[in-house]
Subunit: 454 residues, 2 copies
């Protein structure tokens, strides 16, 4: 079976069928779809059309589809529905972690209202507990649904208990072994269960050296650990070692994707999590802040250049290389910062000290600087008639490349040290500063050389 491909035609036909309330046609169209497909489809529908669609689904599927929806679309849909309905039809049938995620997007008031109306009291309690955790920590990612066995049981008891518990757990992956005080002892793999025979005790079956995370371990760290050790699920324990939940790889894939997107957006100078389907206002609001920063950078740059208007009116040809100098500074600075930011993100900076990194960066900068300023030297030597300009551009280009490399390396390391997201350094901030400093370096060198040589 191939995965579902959404088309404009499908949506139009579906919208027509919904408009005419042709229940059977709609049901037939969505019969083959999975929850994630329904979520995709409903994102293209108007709010009332989506409600009609969800009303036709069984509770399991609609709860899962709601979970899979984009946050914005979900918010729009939920705000039209009574809290009683949300609690009973959606939240009650979700995994605890998904339920907590969905609820955390709503107002505190509405959260309480919905929590009180969840029919399954135990589920409501689990969700309330999860909501207490910061959503960027292991506690905020974990689900409480898991298969838990006591190390003192034998395989037969264990299998019977597992059958009972498995009703509530979608995917099993591992079975978690705890002692009488719910202290986590290790995992029993399904392979172990398959290969073991007879009345083996869990005590002799579980694997003890299992990597765990604490409830307050930051989400990106959990992602790095699961990725490094190729884990599909990781147990979450509290400070005294009690088993609190487990995090599965699908939630971690989201964390990895989100982290990468966040870095990407910061680098592109976008300040909110947006995509191209957002409306004009949202897109504008997300894009203008860094442009304003660049505008102020431009004003500062103009103040720097205005100190040199005397020289520029005498030697206007100096102005013609301003864009090259600023572009090169920006490009080199972003390269340097991006390497550091990526190293910090995937924990691959290794054990190299900061001073060794800087020395290496200096080496790269000198090589690149020499190569590029030689190129522009030969170009200017043959095509430009001012030797002072030829020398100024090459010396300035070299200096700007070295400066931008070092600055681009130091800034993200420094931001990281003071606990600010280092990816900030890759965006318009670094190019703006590089522009100003670059122009200042270029025009100062130019002023000096032109004074000396003319």
């Amino acid at each position: 079976m191939q995965s579902f491909e959404l088309t404009r035609g499908f949506i139009n036909t579906l919208k027509d069928a919904i408009k005419q309330e042709e229940r059977d046609v709609v049901l037939k169209m969505i019969d083959d779809l999975r929850a994630a497909d329904i979520a995709e489809v409903s994102a293209e529908l108007e709010s009332d059309e989506a409600q009609y669609l969800y009303s036709l689904l069984d509770r399991e599927t609609s709860a899962e589809a709601i979970t899979e929806m984009e946050e914005d679309d979900r918010e729009e849909l939920l705000k039209e529905l009574p809290s009683e309905f949300i609690a009973r039809e959606f939240i009650n049938n979700m995994d605890s972690d998904d339920a907590a995620d969905v609820l955390s997007e709503l107002s505190d008031e509405l959260q309480v209202e919905i929590l009180q109306k969840i029919p399954d009291i135990e589920q409501a309690g689990d969700i309330a507990d999860l909501l207490a955790h910061d959503e960027d920590t292991a506690g905020g990612l974990m689900a409480t649904e898991l298969i838990r066995v006591n190390i003192n049981w034998n395989l037969t008891t264990c299998l019977r208990e597992m059958r009972k518990q498995a009703e509530n757990v979608d995917e099993i992956y591992y079975v978690y072994a705890v002692d009488d005080n719910n202290i986590f002892k290790g995992t029993v793999t399904l392979k172990n269960l398959l290969l073991a025979s007879g009345h083996t005790k869990i005590k002799s079956l579980y694997e003890p050296d299992i990597i765990t995370v604490l409830v307050d371990t930051p989400a990106p760290e959990v992602a790095n650990i699961m990725e490094k050790y190729n884990l599909v699920a990781i147990p979450v324990i509290d400070n005294i070692g009690r088993l609190k939940g487990r995090i599965t790889i699908d939630d971690i894939v989201d964390v990895i994707r989100d982290e990468a997107e966040k870095d990407y957006q910061l680098m592109s100078g976008i300040s909110e999590d947006i995509d191209s389907s957002d409306n004009v206002w949202t897109l504008t609001r997300a894009r203008i802040p860094w442009l304003i920063v660049a505008l102020f950078g431009g004003i500062l740059g103009s103040l720097v250049i205005s100190q040199f208007t005397g020289e520029l009116s005498l030697f206007p040809q100096v102005a013609i290389f301003i864009p090259m100098i600023t572009a090169m500074g920006g490009n080199v600075g972003i390269q340097s910062s991006a390497i550091i930011v990526q190293g910090l993100a995937n924990n691959s900076l290794g054990l190299e000290s900061t001073s060794k990194k800087l020395m290496k960066e200096l080496g790269v900068a000198v090589l690149n600087g020499l190569a590029l300023s030689s190129m522009i030297f030969f170009y200017n030597y043959f095509y430009t008639h001012s030797f002072a300009l030829t020398i100024s551009v090459s010396v300035a280009l070299f200096t700007v490349i070295v400066f931008a490399s070092i600055f681009g390396t130091i800034v993200p390391l420094f931001l990281n040290r003071i606990k600010i997201d280092p990816a900030l350094a890759t965006g318009p901030f670094i190019t703006t500063v590089d522009d100003i400093i670059g122009v200042l370096i270029y025009l100062s060198i130019g002023r000096y050389l032109f004074t000396v040589m003319h």
Copy 2:
């Protein structure tokens, strides 16, 4: 158990112990480590030290650690070892997909040499088959190790066969059901196995509507499918539906990470997959190509400006806003391209047509353009003494923002249409073109207004 944290002290102690061939000390130090930790540790060792370390490990662990190593480090280590040793100690004990990955990095000659020396002929055959697939397709990602049951078996036979097959499979996740011709029919979840009782036939137990991919499905598409449907493993079939292998989520996490890093590197103008621990030459080689592009862009820009030196010597204050104009064009262009590139990467562009996207982008550009050019208008009105300059900068800034938005939206869509990686559009290419066009727009408007108004 917490995950291992590599420190400089640990490495130094280990290096000393290896130098003095203190076998017991080394063994004690690495006793608690997992394969991924060993890989991390060995990356910090010299080649001969790493060899010594691997010689102390059991075959399973050393094969896994080799798999987990960074490509560069692995290459360095393997080139020192005889092919017989690589075949017997490493490749023979790896999962088929990992073995194929490792072999694919070696020369064709060495591949054949090693393949012929693998003791397990069946394993050698599987690996040779996998090597035939493009590594960026499902066939290149899949492993042949999986648990396969016949739909005509009953649960008892099935469990007996599973125990036999499970010896070769690290993680089970799902059991795959096929018919007598190895045509894939569906999966049996472990939950189904646990909950079923007695002599149920597999025929009545398997779930038929399972999403599959073909051996030649591109890797990023496999990643999108597994991510969308939250799958931990996906079966890979050939054109006539025969089960060829399965892809597990850990390999997909790598695909997602790689895709994100590739986009990130293209945006930062880096042309090879590097990290900060690479040497100065590698780093320089990866960074200089786009800088050369920017240099040529700068030269083109200089040719544009040199058409205006007459005006610049009369009105040198025009030059002071050149960096602002180029910076704004670059920033806006990258924002526009990044939104498109990210939408293409995670398949979230939705069903909006290109013309609708462009209209929206135009809306955003007009709003941002009006806001920013009003700001600079007021600044210049109060602080600059030339009204012609005030008007020129504002009109040019608005025009450049609109141009860069449209250009930044069209280019990645166009690149994608002609099957070139759209992320190319986010790098120095777009800023370079924006710089040139921006300067041309600014100076042309400036020339016109200064002529009219003075």
